[in-house]
């Protein structure tokens, strides 16, 4: 581990932008979103106030550059884009021709990735790369991307990563890990690619005082975390609670709008559509050309998971239960990892303010 003066962060950025699209936090419409940024776009000094169903950005007193917590976006917007073309097709009566898209662009470098999102990224890698068939576009984007992780100085008001065992400190899964201190950043390379970036920086040795500052910051962050989930036997709790009356109570509030799934960094569900413009249809439809497009979808959509004759989950109660059960129970069986990383996004960005931590507590109440 080495130390970098804060004003030298731009040198790290400079090195990155030559070879990568740097994806990081910036303010848009009063919200910290992720976008391609320059170092001065980082909303240093801003603080977010989050509640269930509410988000406000204010200028605060915090001295850090990364003074804010995570907004609605995560890496998933870039590695698994909301709308992406899978292939173009042209079919005639006798043949069908498929053209794969070019997913190679300038490689991505994600800056300021929190520990919770690194846990989510591990799940994403299992989903898109862990099976017999790999998702080629995800693979090409992921393979060339750099993860520049960040220890949280401040948790968001809806965060509970400590309960899920994912944060707030970054443990692994990074190319470079950053820890922000008062006057400097601590840097650690996790891969050869990360080390190469550090090699060109003028770094200082880390002192015992720096390490003390680091651990006191982690303590402070943990102390500020307001939410929690009791995780003992969480899958068991879900399986025992499938008929719990609380699901009906949630269904009364649930808007079924799908916002939670769109902001969740582990939600990966999507649907495919074949789009054909009128220009792509020859007379009598002898030749048809179009594109197959993948879009983020959600278990809250009634058309999602619809099969011949209907949907297995015809009620809001069943759909919410499916979502929460997938997060807290099924992913362990499916991928051996938690489907909830404790980032709190689903709580903040739910218009009805449904709070997964409170709903779990309610399930623990014996009827």
């Amino acid at each position: 581990m080495k130390k970098l003066k804060k004003e030298h962060l731009r040198i790290l950025f400079g090195g990155l932008t030559e070879s990568h699209r740097v994806i990081g936090p910036k303010i848009e419409g009063g919200v910290v979103v992720l976008a391609e940024i320059a170092v001065h776009d980082i909303p240093a000094g801003f603080e977010d106030r989050q509640m269930a169903g509410s988000y406000r950005l204010v200028t605060g007193e915090r001295p850090e550059i990364f003074s804010f917590s995570a907004g609605p976006d995560s890496f998933k917007r870039f590695l698994h884009p909301p709308v992406s073309e899978m292939f173009a097709f042209k079919s005639s009566r006798t043949a069908i021709a498929i053209t794969a898209p070019d997913c190679q662009g300038k490689p991505l470098a994600f800056i300021g990735v929190r520990a919770c999102d690194i846990a989510a990224l591990k799940l994403y890698d299992k989903v898109f790369l862990g099976g017999a068939e790999k998702d080629q576009c995800y693979e090409s984007r992921r393979k060339d991307s750099l993860v520049i992780a960040l220890d949280c100085s401040y948790p968001g008001d809806n965060c509970f990563c400590h309960a899920m065992g994912t944060g707030p400190s970054v443990m692994d899964g990074f190319d470079i890990a950053l820890v922000e201190l008062d006057a400097s950043f601590l840097l650690e390379a996790g891969t050869i690619a990360g080390q190469r970036l550090l090699d060109v920086l003028s770094l200082e040795e880390v002192t015992e005082g720096d390490m003390k500052e680091r651990s006191s910051r982690t303590e402070r962050c943990l102390g500020m975390m307001k939410k929690s989930i009791r995780t003992e036997d969480l899958p068991g709790l879900i399986y025992r609670s499938l008929d719990h009356p609380r699901w009906m109570d949630i269904a009364e509030r649930d808007l079924e709008c799908g916002n939670c799934t769109q902001v969740c960094p582990t939600c990966f569900c999507h649907s495919h559509y074949d789009f054909v413009r009128l220009a792509g249809i020859s007379p009598r439809a002898r030749e048809v050309s179009g594109t197959r497009v993948r879009k983020w979808d959600s278990c809250f959509s009634r058309n999602f998971a619809r099969v011949h004759g209907g949907n297995f989950r015809p009620s809001r109660r069943a759909r919410y239960r499916q979502w929460m059960s997938h997060k807290l129970a099924y992913t362990f069986e499916q991928f051996g990892l938690p489907g909830c990383v404790g980032c709190g996004r689903c709580i903040t960005w739910c218009p009805a303010g449904i709070d997964i931590t409170r709903e779990v507590e309610a399930l623990r109440d014996v009827r």
Binding site: R253, C257, N259, L278, N303
Partner: protein, 255 residues
């Protein structure tokens, strides 16, 4: 196989949805190449003869004459598709369904006695069987094109029934409801407009009508917590899809 015969019909409406079809400028030549346009008053003065493979119907039923006309259209048509808020939910003119029609007539017209109208403006599906419904005020040109192409290819149109929020989040638009407490109807409104209003930092006001399974009461509870009165909330819903939002509020079904 001959080109399918298409008819475009207008009932009580502003013609804007028919213009959405004409606005498919890049595809109009393909459209007339693939379909035989048998009836389309906004585009040609050819009179209606014979049967139709597909009819696009704009507008609501609001006069006695329209009631029999829509049945006549249905009888000669294989596939009937309603286009837009008026045809699909009764339109803005359905606001009169919650008032006294004579009061309106007297307030608007110098000689109210000559106005022939029904007391309610109703969607096409109240009168005849509808094969497919396109929402929106006006209907989206892209969804029209997708529907026509899907008809030719005998496939289900790739048109969503989920909320506007889904499209909004995909586009990465900062949430007006969460970040500004704006009374945005996005969570209960059908996607399809391309997120026109939230892209311009204006809350959704429901052109595309209620999404499937909209939980309107829960959203109105949220608005009331941020200071809107019952009256303000009702006004939000009473626009071009007033009938559909009111129906969605009272619909019985599993929560």
């Amino acid at each position: 196989m001959k080109r399918p015969r298409i008819g475009v019909f207008k009932f009580t409406s502003c013609d804007g949805c028919q213009l959405s079809l004409l606005n498919l400028e890049d595809e109009l030549l393909d459209f007339v190449g693939l379909f035989q346009v048998a009836y389309f008053r906004e585009a040609t003065d050819r009179p209606l003869r014979g049967h139709l493979d597909i009819a696009l119907v704009e507008g609501s039923v609001s006069t006695e004459r329209q009631r029999s006309h829509v049945v006549a259209v249905r009888e000669r048509t294989r596939y009937l598709v309603t286009v837009g808020a008026c045809a699909t939910s009764g339109g803005l003119q359905a606001l009169r369904n919650w008032a006294d029609i004579d009061d309106y007539k007297n307030a608007v017209y110098p000689s109210p006695a000559i106005i022939e109208t029904l007391p309610c403006s109703t969607p096409i599906s109240d009168h005849v069987y509808v094969d497919y419904e396109l929402w929106g005020c006006p209907v989206s040109s892209d969804e029209l094109s997708e529907t026509l192409g899907s008809f030719l290819l005998d496939k289900r149109p790739g048109i969503p029934g989920y909320s506007l929020c889904m499209e909004c989040k995909r586009k990465g638009i900062p949430c007006l409801l969460i970040a500004r407490s704006a009374p945005c109807l996005g969570p209960v409104t059908r996607a399809g407009c391309g997120v026109l209003c939230p892209s311009l930092e204006r809350p959704c006001y429901g052109c595309f009508g209620p999404k499937e399974g909209a939980n309107i009461d829960s959203l109105l509870n949220v608005f009331r917590k941020s200071g809107l009165s019952h009256h303000d909330c009702a006004l939000l819903l009473d626009k071009m899809n007033t009938s559909a939002y009111r129906k969605a509020r009272t619909r019985e079904g599993p929560p």
